[in-house]
Subunit: 338 residues, 2 copies
């Protein structure tokens, strides 16, 4: 089998590797597709060299089929289509209060242990979610990021008829917007990148370019002063932090999806004044995976528009180099089947 | 009747004024006691000269009895003990979504219109809450700030058995701590002022002085690593903003009680990582007043310990000067009866 390895220094290798028999409690998956996540790009940029164990196979946005089954695994058969929820919560403690998806000693599979950018992947069976037989395996590589979006929208408490503003139209922002729209919200996307604006508009969204249009005034006019019920901060930059508290209406909920590496100024007065809520949201819980699988399997939303390119696994080096050259792109999948 | 007036320039006057017949929909209250709020001190300091209409009678933390009743007021009789919920929401709009207590065009009675630091006070009947006949009118002057605390605790969703950390042991912090403890929480107060520490300890609270003890390590040890379920940020300073995200456990809720006049650095990464919630809370709703009246009337909590002094209304100038000289004090009441 072929496997890829991040070697440090912006470099991936591709090597032949022996197929491994799945250990007790594990299955071996024949990986179909694996998407490139922003975190994977961070790893490629060397930003996580202290955390990953170089050389390491990365990747966690995948789909595949069960190829072999280890001892003490029940409920799965060879050939089952699956996706992996890449959270290893086996070190969970009582003080995690049952929130295993964000437990203090959580290990992220594909970062802290080997990932899916290889032809075959051995994983613990507790990470699996079964896909219906009719699910498209290309689209199923979007289940993991889509689950993030499902989690964000679920924690926001979004109700049909509410107004949602998504700050940032990258892959996660687009998925959040799709899930919010599917839940019956009136969705606005705020994005400055022309290529992403065009894509979002093609997908049927109302997009505001805050560099050209006053976002707050626009939302005010479009909502008769009600402003946003829910704001998703996905962009992770100071201008979106500044606007998130402006664009939210009374008792608005702001979901913090973006990762802010350092403390940043927030208008806390507006939280007090309008009784806003800030809701931190990280990864997903099992029900978010089930919701994402349902949406992907139904395939009624324009998920395929988010797939910018599909490249052979062995092109991994070029794929990551191209992502750096083309920051407008959305989701690139590695085809791990050949 | 005697009335007091803020005249600007750190100056109050006391003057005789004609009793006014209550207008339609209003009652006249014979004011018993009126507490001095931090906002009143801000006004005295000239911080709100642009908002108040000098000369103005301020004050909103009051108790009293109905003295006269205007046309079209029902359900009240002369002699009824009452407190006023000083929110005039008559300019409420649909886009306020029914949250009248924080509606965009809210007028605060005692700031935007005359307040209670006078012997008789005419107010709209919709602001009234009736007190039981047995309620102590001195303690009842605490109903307004206690309602703030009831609102904060209610919005936090605090459950019996949870751990609450109150950052700041001033009057509102102490009331929040009392309400949280009464709701069955294990309460810690973080405070640096020795006088306030002593008072809080006399009231039965566990107090941590973060200038001497590492608050985060202390809470960690005391909670077996669970940390706080709910944090109340009442102090309004950068160190409490820095610690609030540290001291909160997984899915902890942080209630923003303090008023932060400008944007300040917040560790948003911790909101993401631990899925924290920040909950803005402002003033109160009718049910918070009812809860506060119930607590004050039962008088099972050490409310009287929070009353630092009771001074005649005519001493108002000296009262405000003394508050500036003695920042350790808690609540000073003006006796408006003579």
């Amino acid at each position: 089998m072929k496997a890829t390895f991040y070697e440090g220094q912006h470099t991936f290798s591709v090597a032949e590797k022996e197929l491994q028999t799945p250990a007790k409690g594990e299955v071996r998956i024949k990986v179909a597709y694996c998407g490139v996540c922003g975190t994977d790009v961070h790893i490629y940029h060397g930003m996580m060299d202290k955390r990953v164990q170089i050389p390491v196979t990365i990747g966690h946005e995948m789909s595949g089929e069960i190829d072999a089954i280890g001892a003490e695994v029940s409920g799965y058969a060879i050939g089952d289509k699956v996706v992996v929820r890449p959270l290893d919560h086996r070190a969970e403690q009582p003080s995690d209060k049952g929130f295993s998806h964000i437990c203090k000693d959580l290990k992220f599979i594909g970062i802290d242990s080997p990932g899916a950018m290889q032809q075959y992947w051995n994983v613990p069976a507790f990470t699996l979610h079964k896909l219906p037989t009719e699910t498209d395996l290309q689209l199923a590589a979007l289940v993991e990021p889509l689950s993030v979006a499902c989690h964000d929208v679920r924690l926001s408490g979004l109700q049909a008829g509410e107004v949602a503003v998504v700050l940032g139209g990258g892959p996660i922002g687009m998925l959040v917007a799709l899930v919010a729209k599917n839940a019956g919200a009136k969705v606005f996307i705020s994005e400055v990148n022309p290529t992403r604006i065009q894509l979002a508009e093609e997908m049927g969204f109302t997009v505001v370019n805050p560099a050209k249009t006053d976002l707050v005034e626009h939302i005010k006019a479009q909502t008769e002063g009600f402003m946003a019920d829910v704001v998703f901060e996905v962009a992770g930059v100071q201008p979106t932090l500044d606007v998130m508290t402006e664009v939210a209406g009374i008792r608005g909920r702001i979901v913090m999806v973006a990762i802010h590496g350092q403390a940043k100024p927030v208008d806390l007065f507006k939280f007090f004044w309008k009784e806003l809520k800030l809701i931190g949201a990280r990864v997903y819980e099992p029900e978010d995976y089930e919701k994402a699988i349902e949406l992907i399997t139904k395939n009624e939303l324009p998920f395929s528009s988010l797939i910018t390119a599909i490249q052979p696994l062995t092109n991994i080096q070029q794929v990551f180099e191209n992502i750096d050259k083309n920051p407008d792109g959305m989701k690139v999948l590695l085809d791990c089947q050949n």
